[in-house]
């Protein structure tokens, strides 16, 4: 019995048939696959420079220079692990990640619940628009706004001085910097983050709420037994993705404020890679640091996904 006929017997059409049947869908996905190959998978090959003393100016172009640069084995990794600056950047990255997880991640969920509880569509639309808006501001603008309000010559400091008090300068205090960048992130992107939660909430049938209300469930009970369970898979999925992205805690935002608080407070893995790779043109070293970051990120996302499965959630992919 051929495989094809066996497949047909099990109710699964033959491969050729499926190919013909789904040709439109396949054609539609081809550009996306090409894009993924060219801009995501092909550049991965560039990671070989992590094992070289890569000099992009040795050849006619950066690509041919990869074949001319000397191999150094694990020397770049040895240098990275011996650099206190790297470990400092790792520490800053994790501290920022945890802060963002605790102080930032729950806020879009809370906002979504709030928005969802608004009955009048017009009020809801206006509130959503106001919350989305900061997402479209550039980090340059966001930092400038915060500087104008919280800086040493900002509105708050000058108001305090006018009333005989000492001025404050929250923008140059390394001690509170991590809270500051988290606050900036919340202000800018929390509104944008509610979209996916609102989408999940929109799929909850209204008759569930009506039935619960008929049974005497109050607003809190309805939220606890209907709304939050509806959000749970989405929260788990986003949490897994966020953990996988734990080492990406912001780049431009931190770079813009580096001079104000110094690298001691603001250096994270991404800025460390940029500083060494772009500014110092030590591309092999920076690629090695980026590779370490990628490997750790992969490990984290796999671990988080496993935890999600253990909690009975689907996670990023099914078991």
């Amino acid at each position: 019995m051929t495989e094809e006929s066996a497949g047909q017997r099990e109710g699964k059409p033959a491969f050729r048939l499926r190919l013909r049947r789904d040709r439109t869908l396949i054609l539609m996905t081809l550009p996306a696959i090409a894009l993924l190959l060219v801009f995501t998978y092909l550049p991965v090959l560039g990671n070989v420079v992590a094992f070289q003393d890569y000099d992009p100016y040795l050849g006619d172009n950066g690509f041919s220079a990869m074949f001319l640069s000397p191999w150094t084995g694990l020397e770049n990794f040895r240098r990275i692990f011996a650099d206190p600056g790297f470990w400092h950047a790792v520490q800053n990255t994790f501290v920022l990640f945890l802060l963002q997880l605790v102080l930032y991640f729950p806020i879009p969920v809370a906002l979504a619940l709030l928005i969802n509880s608004v009955v009048r569509p017009r009020v809801r639309a206006v509130a959503q628009a106001v919350m989305y808006l900061p997402h479209f501001f550039s980090w340059v603008l966001v930092v400038t706004v915060f500087q104008q309000i919280l800086g040493g010559a900002g509105i708050i400091a000058q108001t305090l001085r006018r009333h005989g008090h000492q001025g404050i300068d929250l923008m140059t205090d390394p001690g509170i910097f991590k809270f500051l960048v988290t606050a900036e992130g919340v202000w800018k992107d929390a509104g944008w983050g509610i979209i996916v939660f609102l989408a999940a909430l929109s799929s909850v049938p209204p008759d569930l709420y009506e039935a619960a209300a008929m049974d005497g469930a109050g607003r809190r009970r309805r939220m606890w037994h209907i709304t939050l369970p509806a959000l749970r898979p989405v929260i788990a999925l986003l949490l897994v993705l966020r953990v996988g992205d734990a080492l990406t805690v912001g780049f431009e935002q931190l770079l813009l404020q580096r001079d104000a608080v110094g690298p001691g407070a603001s250096e994270v893995l991404d800025t460390y890679v940029w500083w060494n790779g772009i500014r110092n043109q030590d591309f092999g070293y920076a690629a090695a640091a980026g590779l370490i970051k990628g490997v750790i990120g992969l490990g984290l996302v796999l671990t988080a996904n496993k935890v999600a499965h253990l909690m009975g959630e689907q996670g990023v992919y099914e078991k």
Partner: protein, 559 residues
């Protein structure tokens, strides 16, 4: 940012230059290092001077088109304080040297780049006889763009590289990617381009990369370009007298600061502190070194370096520095002109730029630059900056015709004050970019936007200062340079372009950040001493030996 970098476009007016006698700076006459020079292949470290440099350098033929009112003295720029007689402009390029070929030029640009087909670019192309198209890139992030472009296979025909972007592996990239101009300019060959022949030899000396003459330099005065500006009008109104020592300055600053009224005594003065305390010039890595008591010493190892940082730290701790300067936000010159800070340090060109801008709104606006004092209130010890600060290269892939077209462009742009070519290059097209009022050329809004940057870098005459609309500013600038020039000394590697070996190019990269941390109170002086110890251990002492070998082979420029 390095002390030589400015927040807006360094133009003929913004970037100063000098007519310092050149060859004198090039001492020695011994062969160049075995490690340098070489053929046309890249990656050569070291330098070229003495006899080897003389074989490469263009001949010098002084320009006599217009005699300056204030001749160069003590390394200052020459000054022109008389208005140009527009009816009697001379010609320095009698016939078009361009062959009509195409040139793609990449250059830093501060501001919004004009359209490629604007009247000014069109007129310049027509006058030179070329078809140049500009790829103006954001000057503030030019180093990032430059590294990527040089690593690509699509390098523009002509590339402008500011001296402060010559970091990391860029010097070795220059050796590999750009053409040798020696066959066209060395010795008497430069006489085919009379305006380039009038460029001082010490500026050309700086254009030798990897043993070859590779660049057209933008000549600069070797006197420090960082001036401590003060609000002369406010000082007069408040009855302040100019401080004459660091202690006096701190006392004055405490008195002048009124945070409640949003007035702070000063902006960040780290660069001025370096000048006050006689710290070796920091604008070029080679200038960080000087021979003292038979031993090469780096600026970061000196007591005066720590003293300068400590004084700057005191200013911050006293709360006399504008908070936005602490946060490194905004533009220091804007805070200064707005009256929020009364002293700031910046490129000498701000003197003209800020005055011209402010006088249109505030007729009583007046700024000055105070003379730099020494640590004890006496004479300062200042260190010379390099005699060329911006370089323009032509791609090694360029054809001979393109190279000649590029040289035609450079020769045209290097036309001296008082010529038709100068007027077009600096003011643009009459009626469009400037109008004539009371015999003086005055830029229109269009001219201000379009006649800015670009052609400023692709060829320049010997350093000069001329502001026909504000002649007193040109005089004050030149006189300040002359006074400061009298206290200026040249360190051991003055005038040389030195390519450090790749393994050490990033050794001192973190010091600027550490300086800023210390003056803002985030780190302590002990951290700097630890960083210096680490620097020595990681290769600083090896680098000292390497520079020592250079010194043995090339001799010192210090005088």
């Amino acid at each position: 940012m390095t002390p030589n970098s400015v927040t807006s476009a360094p133009s003929r007016r913004r970037f100063l230059a000098s007519t310092a006698v050149a060859a004198a700076a090039v001492a020695g006459g011994t062969p160049l290092l075995a490690a340098c020079g070489g053929g046309n292949d890249g990656g050569k470290d070291g330098t070229t001077s003495g006899k080897d440099a003389r074989k490469i350098l263009p001949a010098f033929v002084a320009s006599s088109v217009v005699t300056p009112d204030l001749p160069s003295k003590n390394g200052s720029a020459a000054g022109f304080t008389r208005a140009i007689d527009l009816g009697a402009l001379k010609t320095s390029v009698p016939k078009k040297l361009g062959s009509g070929g195409d040139l793609k030029i990449m250059s830093p640009f501060w501001g919004t780049p004009p359209r490629g087909d604007n009247a000014y670019y069109t007129a310049m192309n027509e006058a030179i006889g070329i078809s140049a198209s500009w790829q103006n890139q954001d000057g503030n992030t030019y180093d990032e763009k430059l590294g990527a472009i040089l690593a690509s296979s699509d390098i523009p025909d002509v590339v402008v590289v500011p001296g402060w972007n010559l970091n990391g592996r860029i010097p070795s990239a220059i050796d590999a990617k750009f053409a040798d101009l020696g066959p066209y300019l060395s010795g008497d060959k430069v006489k085919d381009y009379p305006n380039l022949a009038a460029v001082p030899t010490d500026a050309w000396q700086r254009s030798i990369f990897g043993g070859r003459l590779r660049a057209i330099p933008m000549p600069a005065s070797y006197v420090t370009n960082i001036a401590p500006f003060y609000r002369k009008d406010v000082f007069a109104k408040k009855g302040y007298t100019l401080p004459k020592s660091p202690d006096e300055f701190l006392a004055w600053a405490k008195e002048a600061t009124d945070a409640r009224a949003k007035v702070w005594a000063c902006d960040d003065l780290k660069w001025t502190a370096f000048n006050i305390y006689g710290v070796l010039n920091g604008s070029d890595k080679a200038l960080w070194w000087d021979l003292r008591d038979g031993k090469l010493v780096n600026r970061i190892e000196t007591d005066e370096y720590l003293e300068a940082l400590e004084w700057t730290r005191k200013l911050y701790a006293a709360g006399v520095v504008h908070p936005d300067a602490r946060a490194v936000k905004g533009d220091a010159s804007n805070r200064f002109t707005a009256g929020q800070s009364l002293v700031f340090n910046g490129d000498l060109s701000y003197w003209y730029g800020s005055t011209a801008e402010q006088r249109t709104q505030k007729t009583d606006f007046e700024m000055g630059a105070f003379d730099i004092f020494g640590p004890d209130g006496g004479d300062p010890t200042l260190w010379a900056t390099q005699p060329a600060g911006i370089f323009t290269f032509v791609s090694r892939k360029a054809s001979e015709r393109q190279i000649k077209d590029f040289l035609a462009l450079a020769d045209f742009c290097a036309a001296p004050y008082g010529t038709k070519e100068y007027m077009l290059t600096v003011y643009g097209v009459e009626g469009t970019d400037y109008t004539v009022k009371n015999g003086l050329p005055t830029k229109t809004a269009k001219g201000t936007n379009e006649v800015n940057g670009a052609y400023d870098y692709t060829g320049d005459p010997a350093a000069y200062l001329a502001h026909p609309d504000l002649p007193e500013i040109a005089r004050l600038q030149v006189e300040w340079q002359q006074r400061m020039g009298a206290f200026t000394r040249k360190s051991s590697f003055y005038g040389l372009t030195i390519t450090e070996p790749n393994r050490w190019t990033n050794l001192a990269n973190d010091f600027e950040q550490l300086e800023d941390d210390i003056v803002r109170g985030r780190k302590k002086t002990g951290d700097m001493q630890q960083a210096v110890a680490d620097w020595k251990r990681k290769g600083g002492d090896d680098l000292r030996a390497w520079y020592g070998k250079l010194l043995d082979d090339n001799g010192s420029a210090a005088k």
